[in-house]
Symmetry: C2
């Protein structure tokens, strides 16, 4: 493991994750760092987020965009992704844990994690 060094880039990246309520991608993190006058290299941001991810500090989401998004790890929840404006809403989860129990007993499959995302149109974009 080694010692964790608190560099400006890491501190600012964590700050950004704390500030945003939607999952963010690498580019958004870079832009935030720029706004803080940190010209951090893209590769470095990848490595910072990889570190957070391996530590379990952030979740890595695959919202079928061809790239990953990240959010601070928190309780089980899912996302509503608008096809039109790309807004991402959180929804809490009550059903899936029950479903997982059923699957465990019925299929003898040991579930470690799951992905559940909903795609469609948010209220605004339905008009």
């Amino acid at each position: 493991m080694g010692i964790i060094k608190k560099t400006p880039a890491r501190i600012a990246a964590m700050e950004f994750l704390s500030l945003t309520d939607s999952p963010v991608d690498i580019e958004q993190i870079i832009n935030y760092l720029r706004s803080k006058n940190l010209n951090t290299n893209k590769v470095t941001v990848y490595r910072i987020i990889e570190y957070f991810y391996k530590q379990g500090i952030v979740n890595r989401l695959d919202l079928q965009e061809g790239k990953f998004r990240y959010e601070l790890a928190k309780g089980d929840h899912h996302h509503l992704i608008c096809d039109n404006c790309s807004k991402i809403q959180d929804i809490s989860d009550t059903v899936v844990p029950k479903l997982e129990e059923e699957i465990n007993s019925k299929h003898k499959f040991l579930i470690k994690r799951h992905s559940l995302e909903f795609f469609g149109l948010c209220l605004n974009c339905q008009k």
Copy 2:
């Protein structure tokens, strides 16, 4: 739209999709075509599958492998993906439709599609 031409590559690709019960990736399709003595270019396979996808003939799955998989479109179901041997099992879905209704009424979000995949260990790999 235009006329659909039944080329050897398209016919064989559809044949392969019908034969397999697990979602397949582009490489597997190419290998099947090769086994049928069709040296189809990778780009062509991408275009064939894109065509099927846009027609609604196949579903496109993102199992977080950094690539897509495809399967013939069929009733609502989900997948159990083994982290160890990569086996993919189907499971039928009864819960999510209800969940979608709840979300529609509670969040006013119009759901068009969803992804639900479970990752863990299959029976064999738990030993």
